[in-house]
Amino acid sequence: MQQMIPLRRRFTKFLTYFAIAVVLIWVLFPIFWVIMGSFKSKEQASAIPPVWIFNPSIENYISAFIRRNFGNLFVNSLIATLTSTAVVLLLSSLAGYALARFKVVGKKNIMFWILSVRMFPPIATIIPIFLLFNKLGLIDTRLGLMLLYIAFNLPFAIWIMRSFFAEIPSELDDAAMVDGCSPWQAFARIILPLAAPGLSATAIFCMMFSWNEFLFAMIISRAQTQTLPVGVMGFITQRGVLWGEMSAAATIIMTPMIIFTFLVQRYLIRGLTFGAVKG
């Protein structure tokens, strides 16, 4: 009987590790399989039985970049992502600060309105925007895509920046203003530097949303300004899917996001819940 207890405990411990291993395999296998597929030859990528051991080649990457112009798409994605993120950071830190600190008439309504903008189904936003951009000549321009991504990320960024500013004690701004700073100076010199972790988390989330965005880019961009997620669709052809090249493209798109996951994991929950839940 006395020997039974440690045995049972060891068994539950084994079960726990086993269950965690199963979960990890389930989560990571698809990613692993696609990355592995990207280094296979065309025949190996869709071979049955599946090929596990092979000579890796970067043929698919070369083909994606040279034949499908992925370099260009990469630049398009990068520009849309970085420019929109920069503008969003500027506007959202100002607005987030205002909502965290100052008396604004109808603050609550403004905040819910901002949130509701994000609740819109993207398809409801994009149809009228498409018609407007058509009139304004913004279809297939980088500017159009950037403007759209700013609008898309701004509500989320304002909410999350507000939650970061709310954590900084307001005595600091008081002290700065007592010392003769204008509200603007107090914000720019004292508070904004303190909110640096918030800014970087917000930036990463904005980059993530813009980088991964598909529907807007598909409708607004044509050949000139196509982004990576739209371009990857090009591997679905009439004669079937080019799995090897598709996997290479998928790997290119997801690698930066996997790195970001590790960078923002502390703020993930706050980001997902618009700052409502702090992790």
């Binding site: 205002a98 100052f102 899917v241």
Partner: protein, 308 residues
């Protein structure tokens, strides 16, 4: 609010400083506010006006005749839209139920003190950070009927695998499987945060009172998790009802119209058939459905509004 009337400043007279503080908020808020008005209210009003007219992109010579609520009526009486509504709800409810149960299980599993648990928790979250387009294509790769790895494993078990993306009866489950892979992590993440925020005393008290582990799970754990469960369900309801990217790349609505979810219906009306006003009417109907459902869930949320 938080500002007291202190001014030891000699440079600025008290009055101008007060007014500076009173209006500063508006100046800080203005750029974002104006931007959002331009990009949300204006398009919304424009969309409303288009939805009440007949606007066919491919036939501009028809003009934009005022037709009132006819477009909404056409959507609401369209049997394809009825199907799309049903398919969307089937997809959404099945995905969310499984994601919640799996997510709760995994969250409980990872709520333990084990070496390296931090890295494991981060690894589990990765799927939801990947572009839905990429997730869709990856699963399309794995679910492919004759060359996919999943069907290879099923055949190894001696079972005839389904043609996942090619058969009407199997295609929605295939999309659900994909959605579960991508979004179970959201439940894991939020429920884990809930588990970590639980106080210990009630559990000790329950233990002293002789409650079984199952009883304290039902009465205490689930009770404390309730707001976290509601928030994650709310987020998922909003997202699944408007899903577009993943089904679009996996099936583009097919086979036939089997996976033409509501967003895809609106998209096709507007950009495949060029019935822009019908597409917009459908998009508004989706919005109303989401807002109504979200409202029900938000009302159930015990979140303290005093926080704002």
């Amino acid at each position: 609010m938080r500002y007291r009337l202190v001014s030891t400043n000699k440079k600025l007279p008290l009055l101008s400083k007060l007014s500076q503080r009173r209006y500063a908020g508006y100046f800080f808020l203005a750029p974002a506010f104006i931007y959002l008005i331009l990009f949300s209210i204006y398009p919304t009003i424009y969309a409303l006006s288009v939805s009440l007219r007949q606007y066919i992109l491919s036939k501009p010579y028809l003009g934009k005749e005022w037709v009132g609520f006819q477009n909404f009526w056409r959507v609401l009486t369209d049997s394809h839209f009825h199907y799309s509504l049903k398919a969307t709800f089937y997809f959404a409810s099945a995905s969310i139920v499984v994601e919640f149960m799996l997510g709760l299980g995994i969250a409980l599993l990872l709520h333990q003190k084990i070496k390296g648990i931090g890295i494991i928790r981060t690894l589990v979250v990765i799927p939801m950070m990947i572009a839905p387009v990429v997730v869709g294509l990856s699963w399309k790769y794995m679910l492919s009927f004759d060359t996919g790895i999943i069907n290879y494993f099923i055949r190894q078990l001696g079972v005839q695998p389904p043609n996942w993306l090619g058969r009407v009866s199997a295609v929605i489950p295939a999309l659900i499987i994909t959605d579960i892979w991508q979004w179970t992590p959201l439940f894991v993440l939020l429920l884990l945060a809930g588990l970590q925020s639980m106080p210990e005393e009630p559990f000790e008290a329950a233990c002293v009172d002789g409650a079984s582990r199952w009883q304290s799970f039902i009465h205490l754990t689930l009770h404390f998790l309730k707001p976290f469960i509601l928030i994650s369900v709310l987020l998922r309801v909003m997202d699944t009802l408007r899903t577009f990217d993943m089904p679009f790349v996996m099936t583009s609505g097919g086979p036939g119209r089997a996976t033409e979810f509501m967003s895809l219906y609106a998209y096709r009306q507007a950009f495949s058939y060029y019935y822009v006003s019908i597409g917009i009417a459908a998009a508004f109907i989706i919005l109303i459905i989401i807002v109504l459902l979200a409202n029900v869930l938000v009302r159930a949320l015990p979140v303290a509004e005093g926080e704002m």
